[in-house]
Amino acid sequence: MSAQPAAPAASEQPVPYRATKLPDVKLLMWVFLASDTMFFGSLIGTYLAYKDRSLVGPLPVDVFDIPLTTVSTFVLLMSSFLMVLSLHAIRQNDIPKFRLWTAGVAFFGSIFLGFQVYEFVHFVNAGLSIHQNLFGTTFFILTGTHGVHVTVGVIWLVALIMDSYLRPLGAKDSVYVEIAGLYWHFVDIVWIVIFTVVYLVEFV
C-alpha cells in the first residue's frame, strides 16, 4: 500500500487500493441490492403481519384481479428477458440492437407501471385508500415502493439509450448496462415474491 516515491511519474494518478479485482460499480450494485432486499423483506413482513387484521373493507379478495396482475407479472418477466438481450448486444458492440432491446425493456416497464396506476385508481374508486384499513396501508406502501423502483429503472434505461447517442458506447461500457440490468432483474424478483405472497395466496 505504501507509495513508491522513486517510481517514475508515468501516471500522476495514484493507483487506487483494491481489495478485489472486481469492478467497483458492480460490487457496489450488489451491496445495494443486498440492502434493498432487507428493505423489501421488512415491507413484505409488515404486510403479512397485518394480513387479515383489517376491520373494514374493501379486503384483498374484493379488489384483486388475478388475470390482470398475471399479465402485468408476465410483462415484467419478459422485460427481464429483453434486458439480458440488451446486455448481450452491447457486449457484441451491436449498438442498434442494444438500443432496440433497452427501449423494449423501458417500454415493458412502462406497461407494468400503467397496469399499476390502473390498479391503484381502481382500488381507490372501490373505497380502498391508504388510510382506509391496514390492508390499504400496507399494500400501498409495499407495491408503491416497488412501483417507485420500477420508475427509477425506466428512467435509468432511457438515460442509457440517450447516452448511446451522445457518446460512442461499446463493449468496454458493458458493465454500466450490466448494473442497470442487475437493478432491473432485482425489481423483477421482488415482484415475483409480491405476486405470490400478496396476490395469489389470497385466493387459495
Partner: protein, 349 residues
C-alpha cells in the same frame, strides 16, 4: 471479464420460456382451484414455484451462476438478514396469540391471585356457550356484541358506512339476574341497537323491560364511539377488544369489570393521560405503555369510553354514559402516566 463464461442467447430464451410457463401455472392453480391438491399443498406449490422463478432469474439473468462468488456472498448475506427480519417480524405478531391460546390455565391462575369477579371469569371461560341447556333456557341468550360494519360497494365516503354497535344500556336486570345467576349475560341481552331490534326485544322479552334501556342508550353516540375506537385503539386492542396476550391488554371482559370496581374516573384518566407500569389482566402480566390520548376531543373521549365499556360486555351495573363536560373536567387534573398506574392499584386491580 473477457474470458468470463456467460450464458448464451439460447439459454436466455429457454429460461424466459420456463419463467413464463411457471407464471401461467401459478395463475392456473389459483384461477382453477385444484380440490384434490388441498389448501396446504397449493400454498406449498405456489411458494415453491415462485422460489424457482426467483432462483432462475438470479442464476441466469443476473449471472450469479457463472460470476464471481463475492457477489453471491454479498447478496446472500443481505438475503439472510432479510429473511431473519421477516421471520422475526411475523413471529412477533403471530406467536403471542398462539402461545396464549395453548395456555388455558391463564384464566384459572388469574382467578387464584387476582380479584377478578367469578362471574366475569365464567363468562370468559365459557363465552356463555357451554352452560347446560337448562341454564340456557333459564336465562336469555347474550346479544351479539361484535361490531358490524358494512362497507359501501363503491365510493370512498366514510359517511356511507353502516356501523352497528350492539348496544349498551343498563337493563333493569337485578330481578331476573338473581334468578338466573348470570347477571352479565342478562344485562347484555337487555337491548340491541341493530336493525333487528324488534327481534332482539322479542328474544329478551322473557321478563326484561326492553323499552327502558333504549331511552338511556339514546343519550350517547354509539356510532361515533365505534369510529373513534376504529381510528385510534384497534391497532393494539384489536377489533374484538381482546388485545394481544402478553403485549396489549384486553378491553373486552375487562373494561366493564374495571368500571364496576369503581373505575369510572380511572378509565377517563387512562385515556386522557396514558398509563405506565406493570399490570395484571386475567392472569397475564402487561408491562407496556398506554399512550396519552389527550389530543382527542372531549366528545371523542366520552364516546370511545362508552364504546369500550359497553361494546363487548354490555353495560356495567349502574352505568351512566360518559359525557363530554365530564371529560373536560377530568382533563384539568393533568395526571402523569405513573400516577394513573397508582390509581389502578388503589382500585384493587
Amino acid at each position: 471479464m473477457a474470458n468470463q463464461k456467460h450464458s448464451s442467447v439460447a439459454t436466455y430464451i429457454i429460461v424466459a420460456l420456463i419463467l413464463g410457463v411457471i407464471t401461467y401455472i401459478e395463475f392456473a392453480i389459483v384461477e382453477y382451484p385444484q380440490e384434490w391438491l388441498g389448501r396446504n399443498w397449493t400454498l406449498f406449490w405456489l411458494v415453491a414455484l415462485s422460489v424457482v422463478k426467483f432462483i432462475m432469474v438470479i442464476m441466469f439473468f443476473m449471472h450469479l451462476k457463472d460470476d464471481d462468488r463475492t457477489y453471491t456472498g454479498f447478496f446472500s448475506s443481505g438475503m439472510f438478514i432479510s429473511m431473519a427480519t421477516f421471520v422475526a417480524l411475523t413471529a412477533m405478531f403471530i406467536l403471542p396469540r398462539s402461545v396464549a391460546s395453548t395456555r388455558p390455565d391463564n384464566v384459572v391462575a388469574g382467578a387464584a391471585s387476582h380479584e377478578v369477579p367469578q362471574d366475569v371469569l365464567d363468562l370468559v371461560e365459557t363465552s356463555g356457550l357451554s352452560r347446560s341447556p337448562a341454564a340456557q333456557a333459564d336465562s336469555p341468550r347474550p346479544a351479539d356484541r361484535s361490531v358490524q360494519i358494512t362497507p359501501p360497494l363503491a365510493g370512498n365516503d366514510a359517511s356511507s358506512y353502516e356501523v352497528t354497535v350492539p348496544g349498551g344500556a343498563p337493563a333493569q336486570a337485578s330481578g331476573e339476574a338473581g334468578a338466573s345467576g348470570d347477571a352479565t349475560a342478562a344485562a347484555a341481552a337487555g337491548s340491541d341497537q341493530t336493525p333487528n331490534e324488534e327481534q332482539a326485544s322479542e328474544q329478551a322479552a322473557g321478563g326484561t323491560t326492553a323499552e327502558a334501556p333504549a331511552a338511556t342508550a339514546a343519550s350517547w353516540d354509539a356510532e361515533a364511539g365505534a369510529s373513534v375506537y376504529t381510528a385510534n385503539c384497534v391497532a393494539c386492542h384489536q377489533g374484538n377488544g381482546q388485545g394481544i396476550p402478553g403485549a396489549f391488554p384486553p378491553l373486552a371482559d375487562h373494561a366493564t369489570a374495571v368500571y364496576e370496581a369503581g373505575g369510572r374516573e380511572f378509565l377517563m384518566d387512562v385515556v386522557l393521560f396514558g398509563m405506565q407500569g406493570q399490570i395484571q389482566v386475567n392472569g397475564m402480566a402487561y408491562n407496556g405503555l398506554m399512550p396519552a390520548w389527550g389530543h382527542l376531543s372531549d366528545a371523542d373521549v366520552a364516546n370511545v369510553l362508552n364504546h369500550i365499556v359497553t361494546a363487548w360486555d354490555g353495560p356495567p351495573a349502574g352505568f351512566a354514559p360518559y359525557q363530554a363536560d365530564e371529560v373536560a373536567a377530568q382533563r384539568g387534573l393533568g395526571l402523569s402516566a405513573a400516577e394513573v398506574h397508582a390509581m389502578r392499584a388503589d382500585l384493587g386491580l
